[in-house]
Symmetry: C2
Subunit: 481 residues, 2 copies
Amino acid sequence: MSATAFPAAEIPSDTPSPGAHAAVRELLDLLGPVAVMAGADVPARNRNDYSGLLPTEPLAVVRPASTAEVAATLRICHAHGVAVVPQGGLTGLCGGGRAQDGEIALSLERMTGIEEIDPAAATMTLAAGTPLETVQQAADAAGFFCPLDLGARGSCAIGGNLSTNAGGNRVIRYGMAREMVLGLEVVMADGTVVNSLNKMIKNNAGFDLKHLFIGSEGTLGVITRIVLRLFPKPGSRMVAMCACEDYATVLRLLGEARSGLGPLMSAFEVMWPDYWGRAVNELRARNPFAGDDTAYGAYVLIEALGTDPEADLPRFEAWLERLLEQGVVPNAVVAQSLADEQALWGVRDACGELHQTWPGHLAFDIGLPQTAMDHYARACKAELAEKVPGCETVFYGHIGDGNVHIVAYRAGDAEQPKDAVEEVVYGLVQKFGGTVSAEHGIGTLKRRWLGHARSPEQIELMRTLKLALDPKGILNPGKVL
Amino acid sequence: MSATAFPAAEIPSDTPSPGAHAAVRELLDLLGPVAVMAGADVPARNRNDYSGLLPTEPLAVVRPASTAEVAATLRICHAHGVAVVPQGGLTGLCGGGRAQDGEIALSLERMTGIEEIDPAAATMTLAAGTPLETVQQAADAAGFFCPLDLGARGSCAIGGNLSTNAGGNRVIRYGMAREMVLGLEVVMADGTVVNSLNKMIKNNAGFDLKHLFIGSEGTLGVITRIVLRLFPKPGSRMVAMCACEDYATVLRLLGEARSGLGPLMSAFEVMWPDYWGRAVNELRARNPFAGDDTAYGAYVLIEALGTDPEADLPRFEAWLERLLEQGVVPNAVVAQSLADEQALWGVRDACGELHQTWPGHLAFDIGLPQTAMDHYARACKAELAEKVPGCETVFYGHIGDGNVHIVAYRAGDAEQPKDAVEEVVYGLVQKFGGTVSAEHGIGTLKRRWLGHARSPEQIELMRTLKLALDPKGILNPGKVL
């Protein structure tokens, strides 16, 4: 990362306001050129996220090295009424970390590192800019497990994971990112530092403040330090792929897995036949049911994490054998090796390769009550066939958590029919009582659909909170609300 | 419960303000005498909680039968600026549900009942006034498990459990009450109904609003309906009592239990020798280590909930056997029957009988990082010996969760030396970075100590939230803040 100085004389002439101009000058004076880069010197990485939108031209990027510098940055920007966009690893999919033209990006990229691991409390205290993979590795080295995991682990920052309340594949067992947090240090819009670096699981002394900042996408405060809860390392892993006759069987299997595997169940991932067919045929994932690849109505990947490397697998197999004998599932495969595990997960993870055959596809991240999912999928396909003829879809997702992903694509279109597909997908979400974002967040991309998932009273309450905590509206303006 | 009418002519002359007088009249006109009782007709149950404080003289109690009636009540009270105190089962220990003289108690006692159990989503939708025991029984009847449990289960209301973010014995596995909630319906101070009855585990569409109301003791809104997450019924239960040489061994055992039992561990309860001696000698709990009752430095009750009634107990015993062989624990007893389980839990639950020998004792509910607990206990005893001579204490608690209970008593005092003991207990909590309430809440009783657990910036942020959501300050005034 270059840290080119931004000489005061070169402040761009299109600076949005005298306040912004003055703020950048003050920030440069205070923090120096290593922390403040403006105009053309703003690095490419700070100009965009993974949303697929065009790069922007932020007024400047500020890269503080400490909480005190974050506080100073916000005090200055608050005084001048300049918009500040907190940035972590910039791997968000909805534009939440993307500074608009003329705004100041506040990047936590220099605030990294593990401060403490407390084995007795099973906690890790760390800086918000730390990459998730570093967190996972540090937990592992200390004999613990950090269950939060997502594809962007090498790039995303833990602070960004919390500000978007990241999900991932293990939510059914460990919860969302929110559930892994015990304490936060947050800098408020006016620069006030609120230190709630609590390490205790139980603390009922006054309001819970951390949940305000988790999942609010940097619009209420900037997360600077974190106390994470760590978990015991699993001693065993069991993975199975189950074929189901239909969606009713999927729900039956979910109930059986809940009672039979109990708290060991760590994933329950469902693939509809449309997804399965593409994954094993076009994307070349290895089909564990070779020769029989379209015979079933749904496919379920089940993972369990146990404590006993010897006894757990036989127990898992016996549980599944019983379901086969009872006819609950007509076919199932249990991984016998790490390679098997990876091959089974490979079918589920093939979604990452959909862009090969469907370049520029539309991706959705909706939530629905489990009973509604298959009805929703049918209704969605029917309505798309009518309103967006030629549009194909695949359905798959973390059904145990109520989260389904949809990928839509119309071959031959120079530009995908985004608005028309969104109208159908989110219109039906509203009808079925679901949510427009189960895990990716709102950012700017889904802002117009927020009202499809939340009531006017809920949105009004969000506005009340925003106004109370950031009365000047300088924190990540235009995001979420 | 009598539902005596409150004739308008009998509105007491000591009505605090013309507004309050008018509000009661309007409420009576709107909701009728079945819902509104005033002055001397306020039932005894609505005049106090379990805090040990004196009964109060509320202006009136309003007992709405629906969310619409709660909303109407708050609209009227808001218009007249009259204080409203939400009441559930009134089993709180800190005065949070106790209406002060001249305030209106808003009791949810008529809003009870399970509306829906969704087996696929594993959720229960219910009214906030429903007693916890009814919730547990309904979950059980539907083949599920509601893990929230506390001594007051027969009397407390689920809405009160959430407004105080109740804890209990199974927090180490299932989390606090907060973690069991998927959705809430809340009535705001001005009567606005905010319906967030979400049933999905993952919902990142905008700010999370439910956590604002959970644990804020009715000061930010009134919880009227709830979506609870249900869990699979455990198929087995294992209970052991372990003796430990010292507190360092307790921490070692906690680490072993985390990795060896994994997510099956449902309780890790520690008793210091001071507690153990009283429990087995004075309170006649059955001593599982008969003849050896003061030989150890700490005693740990471990519970695990599994899925397999046949295989789980032998595995649990094998795990503990290994620890005995390795010398981690010098002595341990595993329950072989339900009677054994009850006897082992009986030692831990003997705390409920401490009042027999220590009538009017002082009870504390603090939280501390696990490593600090034994240091804290020693420091606390030393400082009490110096500053409150003759004061005896016992220590026990949910150490796996960072929560320790202290009971203090000085024999011979007509009135217990509350202020002096609190100074010591909470002063050291501040010094050791703990919390003044791990699970009981703040209410009025611990308000003066809030600053020992939360920073001025945190308290200021709480005030900002209170002002934003309840600008007239009518909701449970004087509680928490």
